[in-house]
Subunit: 232 residues, 2 copies
Amino acid sequence: MEYEPWLGERDDLYEQLARIGKVVVHPKRIELLELLCQAERSVEALAAATGLKLTTASAHLQVMRQARVVTTRREGTRVYYRAAGAEVCRFVTALGDLARARLAEVEQILRDIGAADGEAERVTRSELLARVRAGDVVVLDVRPPEEYEAGHISGAVSLPLEHLEARLFELDPDVEVVAYCRGPLCLLAPQAVARLRSAGRRARCLEDGMPEWRQARLPVTTGAQASRRSPR
Amino acid sequence: MEYEPWLGERDDLYEQLARIGKVVVHPKRIELLELLCQAERSVEALAAATGLKLTTASAHLQVMRQARVVTTRREGTRVYYRAAGAEVCRFVTALGDLARARLAEVEQILRDIGAADGEAERVTRSELLARVRAGDVVVLDVRPPEEYEAGHISGAVSLPLEHLEARLFELDPDVEVVAYCRGPLCLLAPQAVARLRSAGRRARCLEDGMPEWRQARLPVTTGAQASRRSPR
DNA sequence: CTCATATTCCACAGATCTATGGATAACAGA
DNA sequence: TCTGTTATCCATAGATCTGTGGAATATGAG
């Protein structure tokens, strides 16, 4: 009765898992995937955002599509890519968590880069939720507008980092600001907080970012900002 | 004021993430990692379990160690490898979830292989917990004994699949059996359930396996079985 | 139908990865 | 110290992956 069944099939199984592993073996593919977890984008936009040549970006996207971690939607002459499901974002999040936990280099880079400035005393999700309900903070989404529109923390105001100084006047100086971005490896929110503080405002970062907020099943809103003026 | 800071550092960051991605690009490395999430093992044991030559297995393990997803412990002339932390198991779990969700091939293989037999009507973790407390099921850990000793569901009985028939008499025929193994991609529990049923017993699989039970922070016990006889 | 735009396909050179056998290193026991 | 066991290191041939420019496709506008 000693039989070792399904040897070939077991190998096939791991072969399939490796199809997905292949997606995260290349730095640029990870970068692409992280972007796609925030919002869908055209090939051109993805190439620009990651600094890849168009054909190279397309090639990477094909690899990811073959592994079915991304899907596409055609609109006229352009093709929009997006993450194929929530599991994709969870996987990318788990990768980031693992890297932060095990690779001292990652924390070191984040420190060098100045993420440390805003890093201290981050706001927890539950604290933010409570204080938003109490109405004594402004939540700032500092990602690009497309990403805000694809899904943001309910009640958050869109103020892309690049417009921070120009639109500073929109923010009530007496209300503390909580900024968030793409996640713990994204630098937008820490930079925003640093700049806000140097402008004399009270500001902190949210722990993690949008994907984690989603994964915690906290309230998310999609669509553009209602009124552009008076986000008071 | 238009400056694009830290370009190099950002690339470094993704380079680091890719170090971890590299670990899961090779089917055998995924297989090794999954084993290491269950219990520590010597190089020799790992090579045997995965069907790799010793030197090849060692080479793969070096890659994984460089990425710091595994660590080692020396005991006399042999070296035991183990997963470097809980994040590693979460990452592997996320990979498996993603593969199951997105790759129809994976589900197909699981079906072909007969995992489907025990697949239907799996027991949920919370149901199991309740029924264990009520005392009307036997929980069976069908993994190899080392893995049982490294951590098992509290109250579970160790009965490795290979000894199932020989030790069937130890199980009370009137009590339903719930079997579990390494996770949703592991075939031990489904096989055990199939065999138990063909022996006329009532038996079901637990949803998922040990890592997921741990991740749910449910009670885990380590160490060998107290009394070998009378696990009634 | 023709043109312009956005993507994908293709072929290829250069880089990287993998499996393997033989040599080397670390250790325990006699 | 010598020997056997377990694991790592090393060199290498063969396979796979990447980036790239140029050609081919698909779509929408005239």
